[in-house]
Amino acid sequence: IGENIQLLVDRPDGTYCFRLHRDRVYYLSEKLLKLAASVPRESLVAPGTCFGKFTKSQKFRLSVTALDFLAPYAKYKVWVKPGSEQSFLYGNHVLKSGLGRITESTAQYQGVVVYSMADVPLGFGVAAKSTQECRKVDPLAIVVFHQADVGEYVRNEDTLT
């Protein structure tokens, strides 16, 4: 979402902040933070909304539970045709044949938000090809790598925080 992140920090309706709890990053309001501080650390499950987690090698991995917060501020969007929408929701990458629209000047390996044709946010992805290249490749090439999708709410119900 680029420099729109400061809109997440700098909200008019209260102070929100990011907190690290057991190598997951949570986004919560100040009021909630103060409440969460009174819970012992071992028994606290999740303060606020989980945005992502740090893996074993300290790489940050964005989680689908951040979708509601990040989708409105997305700068680079990808629209997916109805036919391959379900395929994306099952965790597959998006092929050129399923690509509907894509924002202009998307760089390669840029983080994007995946929408359905009805402008419903479906999840996150990484652009495998820039916008110019997307026009030239053959229909079975991958254009968006899958990162997170709303189908995970059903698939990984017990591991999602």
Partner: protein, 304 residues
């Protein structure tokens, strides 16, 4: 009535009259009470007959001297049961081992018999002196070994530069100042800082462990810090100034080379070495020097 005045006790062994034993309520109560009162009166009169004296001078209370108590009080708790023999006791009984004390006799080689105590032929004073010397030497050795072990494990600063000379550089002085601050009785915790010294807690692990900001501390400051960070991340200007970094690195390399050359033989050898060194020295950072050098020889080559 049997009196045990040492225990302040009077025992009436006669059974109470039959009328007192039978069931009638208040009458029985009155009879028993009369009996008790009579017995108590007898006991008290006996106590008054004891030799008494005033305790604490003329004004104190009258204290009777009781005879030694004769009556044995019954046990409060049951008698201890004999504990089972321990493993050693069983073994000893099995083997027939009895407890016999060993005599502290020492075998004397010369006279071929046993004697008590130290050797009469040997100089005791010399022996004491020699043993003391040996002990001192062993202690000294252990002390040095401990010191070496502690030193090996990581020393903050060598003990030499504790007095400021004029030839110390900034880092050394800073290190020595830190050591001086920490060497108080409370390890520098309550030491007032100098005007320009930054306030920082001493980290025992030398800055290796990751330290986090407090959870709830000053949310407004955190917010402004985060916004600044995001702004820096979003701006296109790189944080590291490449040319300045390169120049600094070059200066450092030149200083190192000069110091190394000073140690070796100087003048001719040095000049030759330096002339050979310059075109050969192509580190990553001196790549920035190349473009201006390339143009000049090209101009010189075409002209000459």
């Amino acid at each position: 009535l049997e009196y045990a005045l040492g225990n302040l006790l009077a025992v009436d062994r006669n059974p109470p009259p039959a009328a007192a034993l039978r069931g009638a309520g208040p009458r029985r109560e009155a009879l028993l009470r009369a009996l008790a009162r009579d017995n108590t009166q007898l006991l008290v009169s006996r106590l008054w007959e004891l030799p008494a004296e005033r305790a604490g001078g003329a004004g104190g209370p009258l204290v009777a001297q009781l005879p030694e108590p004769t009556f044995r009080l019954p046990r409060e708790k049951p008698a201890p049961k004999p504990r089972p023999p321990t493993r050693w006791e069983q073994f000893a009984r099995l083997k027939g081992i009895r407890r016999k004390k060993k005599t502290s006799l020492v075998w004397d080689e010369q006279a071929k018999e046993r004697r008590r105590g130290p050797d009469p032929e040997e100089d005791q004073f010399a022996r004491l002196r020699r043993e003391k010397r040996e002990r001192v030497a062993r202690n000294e050795l252990n002390r040095l070994r401990n010191l070496a072990r502690a030193h090996r494990a990581g020393s903050a600063v060598p003990a030499a530069p504790l007095h400021p000379t004029g030839h110390q550089d900034r880092d050394e002085l800073r290190r020595v100042a830190r050591v001086a601050r920490v060497s108080t009785a409370s390890l520098g915790r309550f030491q007032p800082r100098l005007p320009k010294e930054p306030a920082e807690p001493p980290s025992r692990s030398g800055g290796k462990k990751r330290r986090f900001q407090p959870l709830l501390g000053n949310l407004a400051a955190e917010r402004s810090r985060q916004l600044e960070l995001l702004r820096d991340m979003g701006s296109k200007k790189p944080v590291l100034d490449i040319t300045r970094a390169v120049n600094k690195q070059l200066r450092q390399e030149e200083a190192e080379a000069a110091a190394a050359n000073k140690g070796k033989k100087q003048s001719k050898r040095g000049k030759r070495g330096r002339r050979q060194q310059r075109p050969g020295r192509s580190g990553k950072k001196s790549g920035a020097r190349r473009p201006p050098q390339q143009q000049k020889p090209a101009g010189g080559g075409s002209g000459g």
